[in-house]
């Protein structure tokens, strides 16, 4: 078992499974966010459910946080090891001759996403914790929509969100399909699966960008 954990393939499997888990989470997050554009009342309802349901709060949320931590700690560990594997570099290295940019820069796109997650946690999670536990405010199942739209009023935040999602798209463009290769899941469905991962990598981040821009350009007028 310990041999398994320290092996390069096992580390890749951890990377792939945590990545796939985050991909699933992203789809769920997107679905909820989309309701903020098409059905604000549903958005309030679902947000309230997510914020107060004990299963979500005490089980799913910690699993999500663990998933993110495992993914980025492993990503950094792999990066350090990979740098050690070529201590003396090439004078000339034509990386673009044989591999796409997205595949060679997963650590960069990943770290930008991580930096964005910092801002995102501050914007929503820290605020939520303060509201619920520090200030001890009562439950208000109607506040979420207005709070969310308000967040996208400043142009700087909207721009940061858009940039982060472009980098997430680049991360997923390579990462989503790569995770199947890591798991050794290639069979007669692979070609179709590849197409699906590429569509997902563009469509979901583009959807998030749309939502951010939509709220920025349609502020709630008081």
């Amino acid at each position: 078992m310990s041999a398994l954990i320290s092996s390069s393939i096992a580390r890749k499997v951890v990377m792939a499974l945590s990545g796939l888990f985050l991909v699933l989470f992203l789809a769920q997050h997107f679905t909820i966010n989309l309701t903020s554009v098409i059905a604000p009342d549903t958005f309030n309802e679902w947000s309230h459910f997510m914020g107060y349901n004990p299963l979500v709060q005490y089980i799913l949320q910690p699993i999500l946080v663990a998933g993110i931590i495992i993914h980025f700690v492993m990503g950094i560990a792999l990066e350090i090891q990979n740098n050690r594997s070529r201590k003396i570099g090439y004078v000339r290295y034509n990386g673009s001759a044989n591999a796409p940019w997205t595949s060679r820069n997963m650590i960069i796109t990943g770290l930008v996403v991580l930096a964005f997650l910092g801002l995102h946690m501050y914007d929503f999670w820290v605020h939520e914790m303060a509201y619920k536990y520090l200030e001890g405010n009562p439950e208000d199942p109607t506040r979420y929509y207005a709070e969310t739209v308000e967040k996208f009023e400043p142009i700087w935040r909207t721009v940061i969100y858009v940039i982060a999602f472009v980098l997430l798209a680049l991360h997923l463009w390579h990462g989503f399909s790569s995770s199947f290769q890591s798991m050794g899941w290639n069979n007669k469905y692979s070609a179709g699966l590849q197409t699906f991962t590429k569509i997902y990598a563009i469509a979901i981040p583009a959807g998030f960008v749309f939502i951010a821009l939509y709220h920025h350009f349609n502020p709630i007028t008081h």
Partner: protein, 248 residues
């Protein structure tokens, strides 16, 4: 053709090494890259200088000895060839060509452009074999029926010549393509089943011990491999490895 060369010179494994500039003239487009280096070395010897060490043997793309990282790519700009199969017509008069050894911590430089690829031998020795009774009642390999597709795929994997271009190209200096080819050529055949579980575990363990990097699935190895070894082999090895470990 007149060319400028920038060549890595390093007197031994412990020396620091540096790029040295050379000019060379009278190069014909029909010459191979190694013939061009032969001329460079003749010139150097005539000038009383130390010739450039580089690996080569068959000079027809089958032994895997010739290495060289040329203008930022293993085996130079062409695809599906070794350095001995690279023609000088791929370059233009006046070009500058940067020539470096394959770089990987697991491929230390011995001298100039020659690297020690015995880490590959040790991966192979860790499991790249089958047990055959040779004590007088050897069974003819053809006596065991093999499905045509499996035989073809195993043969494709077995065309790996162990050159190390996959490691040299990979941004992580990963040896997954080589190791997976050597695992696959047996994993697909009935003769390879006896040691299947131990083989993949031992070969992967040795690969990690040698200090090769992790695979990011960039696909650089497949494109630079002179034999076109497929990334499918890596997926197969990952699958075999997981299966072997889950079995215990």
């Amino acid at each position: 053709m007149n060319l400028k060369l920038k060549v890595w010179r390093q007197s031994d494994a412990h020396a620091k090494g540096k790029m040295v500039d050379y000019s060379i003239s009278g190069i014909d487009g029909d010459m191979s890259f190694l013939e061009m280096l032969d001329i460079l070395n003749e010139n150097l010897i005539n000038e009383g200088k130390e010739p450039v060490e580089f690996d080569h043997d068959c000079r027809e793309g089958i032994c895997g000895s010739c290495s060289l990282h040329i203008n930022g790519e293993p085996h130079g700009p062409d695809k599906f060839i070794t350095t001995c199969q690279l023609h000088m017509r791929k370059f233009k008069d006046g070009d500058t060509i940067v020539i470096e050894p394959f770089r990987a911590t697991a491929f230390p430089v011995i001298k100039d452009l020659v690297v020690d690829r015995s880490s590959f031998d040790r991966i192979q020795q860790a499991g790249g074999y089958i047990s055959v009774n040779t004590s007088g009642n050897t069974v003819d390999a053809n006596a065991i029926p093999v499905q045509k597709e499996a035989a073809d795929t195993a043969m494709d994997a077995a065309t790996c010549i162990g050159c190390g271009a996959c490691v040299a190209a990979c941004k992580n200096a990963s040896a997954m393509l080589f190791t997976s080819a050597k695992v696959s050529q047996f994993a697909l055949l009935p003769q390879g089943q006896v040691e299947a579980t131990e083989r993949v575990k031992n070969m992967v363990r040795q690969m990690d011990l040698e200090g090769f990097g992790n695979c990011t699935n960039t696909g650089a190895c497949e494109l630079e491999c002179p034999k076109g070894i497929s990334l499918d082999n890596i997926a197969r090895m990952n699958r075999e490895y997981l299966k072997a470990n889950l079995k215990g």
